[in-house]
Subunit: 198 residues, 2 copies
């Protein structure tokens, strides 16, 4: 059974878990919503969700300069208490995120940040490709949606495969630390400078 | 003799030296353009100017995280060769600039980057203040200009007094390293994150 965007949204609304986590939960449970919720709970990812409402106003600004000094990254990661901000786990997360941004060059934090016109242009290209490839009209939309998901995974930090463990997304990495530390954690912003780049 | 913006501009065009250096040169030499040029040459600042045309495409990305991790800075400083980028003097400059940005919180790199509407709003306030203070109409413009200069010194990185030696501007600091290393150096961009800030 195919996992639709609507199903993912419903699961996100019910659990507050990340996009990629919900997608994985649904495909693991063959699209069964209740089972998917249990799946997330077992992984400690729905537990994280309940905390999403709490304010994350503490945290740490971290940086990473790639050896040679041609690439540099600044990230802000928020949590709820200064106590958690000072833990080794949190500091390690900030360091991992900084290195990840240096290596994987995300353009946006989350898919909601991708401008409409960028998405529209991608969609047009995927549609044209599918039609040119002779795909039946009834599956063109599904192909476009699939390619768009892949596009988000490439350019959005939270959806990118984590560079040190590509089996999980960055969002899953964050959620795993949330589950460990018991506080809401939010990657708030990042900046990546490449020498001579934009 | 008062140093006007027009005189500063002429000296800048002739020497390529920084705004603050030219202003200082003119006030030191009582507005004599030729003497001001000599002044800049003596200081090694006009020497720097001749190089302004050359491409600065090498350099270093530097960062500074203030102890506690609540403030972080990323800067890109360009020079002409990787050789110079690796020198201790250049690396020290990048470090100094990063720390300066953390401490002095500049909003823009140079005055040309300040949006027109921000300048217009400041001017309106200064004008109203001067008139309310009963200043004669003929000197209002000069007062406004003076306050605007001070405003730029407060918010523009290159015009700010260098935090480790407030007798020189950041631009003068950069020029002094240019004179020492014999390459054009350009502070290209900076980013400052404060926890929970904009």
């Amino acid at each position: 059974m195919a996992v639709t965007a609507g199903m993912v949204k419903e699961l996100r609304d019910k659990t507050g878990a990340g996009m990629m986590d919900c997608k994985k939960a649904l495909s693991e449970t063959d699209g069964d919503l209740e089972k998917a919720i249990d799946y997330l709970r077992q992984k400690g990812l729905s537990d994280a969700a309940k905390r999403t409402g709490r304010t994350a106003s503490e945290g740490v600004i971290g940086s990473y300069i790639h050896p040679g000094g041609k690439i540099g990254v600044l990230v802000e990661v928020n949590c709820e208490s200064d106590f958690v901000a000072r833990t080794d786990e949190f500091q390690a997360l900030v360091k991992d995120l900084s290195m990840h941004v240096a290596a994987s060059n995300p353009l946006y934090l989350r898919r909601e940040d991708v401008p409409e016109d960028v998405i529209a242009r991608e969609k047009n290209i995927y549609e044209a490709q599918a039609r040119e490839g002779g795909k039946p009209e009834r599956i063109v939309e599904r192909i476009v949606q699939g390619k768009l998901e892949k596009f988000f995974e490439e350019i959005c930090l939270l959806e990118q495969p984590f560079v040190k463990d590509p089996d999980m997304s960055v969002n899953q990495l964050v959620s795993s630390v949330v589950a460990k530390l018991g506080e809401n954690i939010v990657v708030r912003r990042f900046q990546r400078y490449q020498l001579g780049g934009q």
